[in-house]
């Protein structure tokens, strides 16, 4: 048998060997090409932009970070050096850990911004602690991400979040329920539908007791698989429970499906909450063919600071669509890093951390200061879709109109 197999087709094997050699040569070329490409900018202030790059959640992190970098570079850079943004693709935990390490070891970034999926970012955290590189999270919302900052400061002080964690989002929504859905519309019976992901479970754990405390009824509560494509069973159950409002807590494309089916089936309840696609104010109406009308949900295109609307206008002019919230945060995060570096007079990680902790910055997402958990204290307004626009209704100070009850109720 030995003989037979050896004899089989040397030619075939040689051809494959040639193929393998060609493949090896190609990858060698790719490696060397990348190495030389990086070498030229050895003196830049390098910021990694980590996010799911094939998705709007990560793509806008990169776009906005690059926008900030260009502006800073035009204005003379940071400590006389240009800012360079290095993209890194977020995937599953295994892939993302490697992506993060590549940023640190090969690209030698000074800091990282972005990060979207909580579970994935939690997997990266130990590697952040090992690498000792400041990481400003602008998407992932689980409170657990910053839990170790206080408990194990020496290792985890590098973690910051320029976004609202899900606990605070839940407190926000409870406020919206009280002031708007109950205060303006008089609703008292609520159903909760959250996707079965960590941040959303954390969210519900805070939201539900708050609603009950305020004397409201939570008549139905469910978690759906993130891959859900049909909400009718949930609508049916919520209707059966005579809910007046369905509170949605959704971070993925199910956010499109839920409003489309809500419009098509006209269940007898209003829809409100956190729906990530609904943050995309320039496209959500179009992409749902207006089915989102009367949905009330969190969003960030509001005059949160003097810079906000100007930033939105420039971003939309350039990319023909509005940015996702991960992008607005990333834009601010790059500026936060710039200011921190200037305050510290250094790109050193520990110096940057110390300076970041002192931040008090008017960003496009509002006035950013970090508390002792390294969480930014920023507002998260709510708007309602009316005739193609998301109209701010909460909080009071941004409000442009009153909440309108869906007419079919």
């Amino acid at each position: 048998m030995e003989q037979r197999n050896h004899g089989v087709s040397r030619r075939h094997l040689l051809r494959q060997a040639a193929g393998a050699a060609a493949g090896a040569g190609w990858s060698f070329y790719v490696i060397t090409r990348s190495r030389t490409a990086r070498a030229g900018e050895a003196s830049a202030f390098r910021v990694g932009a980590l996010g799911p790059l094939t998705d709007f959640t990560g793509r806008d992190i990169l776009r906005a970070a690059q926008m900030a970098a260009e502006e800073i570079n035009q204005a003379g850079g940071v400590l006389g050096r240009p800012v360079e943004v290095v993209p890194a693709d977020e995937g599953d935990p295994e892939q993302t850990v490697r992506a993060f390490q590549q940023l640190v070891t090969r690209d030698r970034v000074h800091a990282v911004v972005g990060g979207f999926r909580s579970g994935v970012i939690l997997a990266v955290l130990p590697h952040v602690a090992r690498a000792r590189i400041p990481f400003i999270i602008t998407g992932a919302a689980s409170p657990d991400i910053t839990k170790d900052v206080r408990r194990n400061y020496r290792s985890f002080k590098y973690i910051f979040r320029a976004w609202v964690n899900s606990n605070r989002q839940a407190v926000n929504l409870a406020g919206v329920v009280k002031e708007i859905l109950n205060g303006q519309a008089g609703f008292t019976r609520f159903a909760i539908d959250a996707e079965n992901l960590k941040w959303a479970r954390d969210y519900v754990d805070i939201l539900k007791p708050l609603l009950l405390q305020s004397g409201f009824d939570v008549v139905y509560e469910t978690f759906h698989d993130p891959a859900i494509t049909d909400f009718s069973p949930i609508f049916e159950a919520a209707s059966r429970a005579r809910a007046q409002v369905l509170l949605e807590i959704i971070s993925n494309q199910a956010g499109y499906t839920i409003v489309k089916q809500w419009k098509a089936q006209r269940p007898r309840f209003a829809l409100a909450g956190n729906n990530n696609p609904s943050y995309l104010v320039s496209s959500f109406w179009r992409d749902t063919e207006g089915a989102c009308e009367y949905e009330l949900s969190a969003y960030v295109k509001a005059p949160l600071s003097s810079k906000s609307l100007d930033f939105w206008a420039r971003f939309e002019a350039r990319h023909k669509e509005s940015p996702f919230y991960t992008g607005t945060g990333a834009y601010d995060a790059v500026y936060l890093l710039k200011l921190a570096a200037e305050r510290a007079g250094s790109f050193g990680a520990d110096e940057l951390v110390e300076a970041l902790e002192q931040s008090d910055y008017e960003g496009v997402i509002g006035r950013i200061r970090f508390d002792e958990d390294h969480e930014a204290t920023i507002p998260l307004p709510y708007g309602q879709w009316i005739k193609g626009n998301k109209v701010a209704v909460w909080p009071e100070r941004f409000s442009l109109g009153r909440y309108q009850v869906p007419p079919w109720l």
Partner: protein, 614 residues
């Protein structure tokens, strides 16, 4: 559809492993471990992590390949074993506070138990059904992690796991050590007795059972080892990744392992490992292309699989090694050339002391095989009805009858391949009616098949060797294998098969196959040999040779029952003939008596209504 066909096709596609891993491939494997170990010494965390993951995937590949590549059963749920081990280890460590090592052991044990359970439930299913049944388990486990999200982490999994080492270099070395251990063990295992039996099972599971192999046990043990191998690496993941999430259980993870295997070259053990390193590194270097990375990766995969369906890396590496290491390599020690020379007695055994006169057949000897009112109905059809007969030790009995008389069905019932509807079979007084085929073969009742069933992909020598192997799955030191090889050569000499010893069985002329069929049964050293039409389809010189061999076996005192249509063979070999017609015995006597029986003449001449004359 036809499940039999399904099985055969899956079998043929599983790329029958060409041979046990050769020593040169082991050098390659050693390089595979050494190069990353040296490369990683530099301490670049990204490279270290990448190589660590590649090593872990390589262990999965080896583990998957050592079962599926050799048994031909595609385990589409393979990732459940490393995945479960990872989860259990993570929970034990992060939630219950076990030390990393204890948690990892716990994870491996849990996976082992899962493998026993899943294996016991699914291994009796074959072909595509096995693949699909195994694929469902991890999908369901993945769903469970989501349903019990609050206790076991859901989509995001579990974090806060203690790393085994604080230095990534040790991580790589640990993973490489796991890989080396897995590879060495798998290489030994697949070239040992168990590997041979697995390949036999891949070819013809029933024929392996017919020579006494408990195929279910061999499969289960191999399945378990393959699972534990992956589990060892899987349990390690949380202790360097420091988190774990349901992706590790996903069918995507298994498909990834199979991808590495197919790209590297299945059934080679080195191939999957090379494939894992090659593709993991490729994926890493494609990061240059940012958002085009995954597209480029899958495009490369599609092209690789389409244009090099037999795998690339291992075959190419083999060619390279061959080109570099020179044409004249020392001959691999051929099978059985061991100089320890315990020549087992030539089979067939020397004649039993002829107690009675050999001439009167088996007059005074004890009954060895007895059929007691055996009946088999298939739906409304009665294939065999109330058949009773007994065979005495040393007797040679012919079983004849027109086609469709129920002869083969009778054999199938005697050897446990078919359960009789009624009646009993006794072997030396023991009731074996409900025994399984391999148990019956072990008790000394061994059959051949009408259509020769050699093990494809195995050489003639290997075919014979499988016939002579004992029941134990593990054969430390390969002693049993060496002994069986010696005997196989003797049997081959006896049957005139020496010329073909190294040929793969599937290319043999039909007459040789029929002799191989007899030889394999002889290797099991049966007390009673059931031959199902050994002369069918052969003639001339081959007929004479086989007749001479069988005569020698008969003269040697072995009990034989032979189904045959060729009259001359019956006349020369037997002293007693049983005639079966429409499932009933219509005559039982010496060949001359039977030939003279009017009922028999009617049956063969096809005159109606004879069946009742028993």
């Amino acid at each position: 559809m036809d499940p039999v066909e399904g099985r055969n096709r899956a079998t043929e596609a599983a790329a029958p492993p060409s041979r046990p891993a050769s020593s040169r491939l082991r050098y390659l494997a050693a390089l595979l471990v050494l190069i990353p170990a040296l490369a990683g010494a530099g301490g670049d965390p990204h490279l270290l992590t990448t190589l660590t993951y590649a090593s872990v995937w390589a262990v999965y590949g080896v583990g998957y390949d050592m079962f599926s590549g050799y048994s031909g059963r595609v385990n589409l749920g393979y990732a459940m074993f490393p995945g479960l081990a990872a989860y259990v280890a993570a929970i034990l460590n992060a939630r219950l506070g076990w030390t990393p090592v204890a948690a990892m052991l716990g994870g491996v044990v849990a996976s082992g138990l899962l493998a026993l359970l899943v294996g016991a439930l699914t291994l009796r299913i074959r072909g595509i059904y096995f693949a699909l049944a195994t694929s469902i388990v991890p999908l369901a486990l993945g769903q469970l992690t989501r349903i019990f999200a609050r206790s076991i982490g859901g989509e995001e999994g579990i974090w806060g796991i203690t790393p085994l080492w604080s230095d990534s270099r040790y991580d790589l070395w640990t993973a490489l050590a796991l890989l080396a251990a897995a590879y060495l063990f798998a290489a030994w295992y697949t070239s040992s007795k168990a590997g041979l039996v697995l390949r036999a099972i891949q070819g013809r599971e029933d024929a392996a059972q017919a020579v006494g192999q408990n195929t279910h046990r061999v499969l289960l043990v191999s399945f378990l080892i393959s699972a534990v191998m992956g589990a060892g690496a899987g349990a390690y993941i949380p202790h360097f990744q420091m988190t774990i999430s349901p992706e590790v259980l996903d069918i995507g993870a298994t498909l990834q392992v199979i991808t590495f295997t197919q790209v590297g070259g299945p059934g080679t053990l080195v191939g999957p490992a090379v494939g894992a390193f090659g593709l993991v590194l490729l994926n890493e270097y494609l990061r240059e292309f940012v958002e085009v990375r995954l597209f480029a990766y899958f495009l490369a995969l599609v092209l690789l699989l389409r244009f090099a369906p037999r795998g690339v890396l291992a075959p190419a590496a083999q060619a390279l090694v061959r080109a570099v290491a020179g044409r004249r390599t020392p001959a691999v020690p051929a099978a059985g050339r061991s100089d320890r020379a315990p020549v087992v007695a030539v089979r067939p055994r020397p004649p039993h002391p002829p107690a009675g006169a050999a001439a009167d057949g088996a007059g005074g000897r004890s009954v060895i095989l007895q059929a007691d009112r055996l009946t088999k109905r298939f739906g409304g059809l009665v294939a065999v009805q109330q058949v009773s007969f007994s065979v005495r030790e040393g007797e040679v009995v012919g079983l004849v009858g027109p086609n469709g008389a129920g002869k083969t069905t009778l054999f199938n019932m005697l050897t446990g391949f078919i359960r009789p509807t009624e009646g009993r079979v006794l072997l030396r007084g023991t009731d074996i009616t409900h025994a399984r085929p391999h148990e019956i073969a072990r008790m000394g009742l061994v059959r051949t098949f009408q259509l020769a069933h050699p093990f494809p992909g195995l050489s003639v020598l290997e075919n014979l060797v499988v016939g002579g192997l004992g029941p134990a799955v593990l054969d430390l030191g390969n002693r049993e294998l060496a002994g069986a090889r010696e005997r196989a050569r003797e049997v081959a000499r006896f049957l005139g098969l020496e010329r073909w010893l190294e040929q793969p069985a599937e290319v043999l002329p039909y007459g040789v196959l029929k002799r191989l069929e007899v030889g394999r049964a002889l290797m099991a050293d049966p007390r009673v040999l059931l031959l199902d039409e050994p002369f069918a389809g052969i003639g001339g010189q081959e007929f004479e040779e086989l007749l001479a061999a069988l005569s020698a076996i008969a003269a040697g005192g072995r009990t034989v029952v032979i189904i045959e249509h060729k009259l001359r063979a019956i006349m020369q070999l037997t002293r007693r003939v049983i005639v079966l017609h429409f499932g009933q015995i219509i005559a039982d006597g010496t060949p001359q008596e039977v030939a003279a029986d009017p009922g028999v003449q009617e049956a063969y001449l096809g005159v109606g209504g004879v069946g009742q004359s028993a």
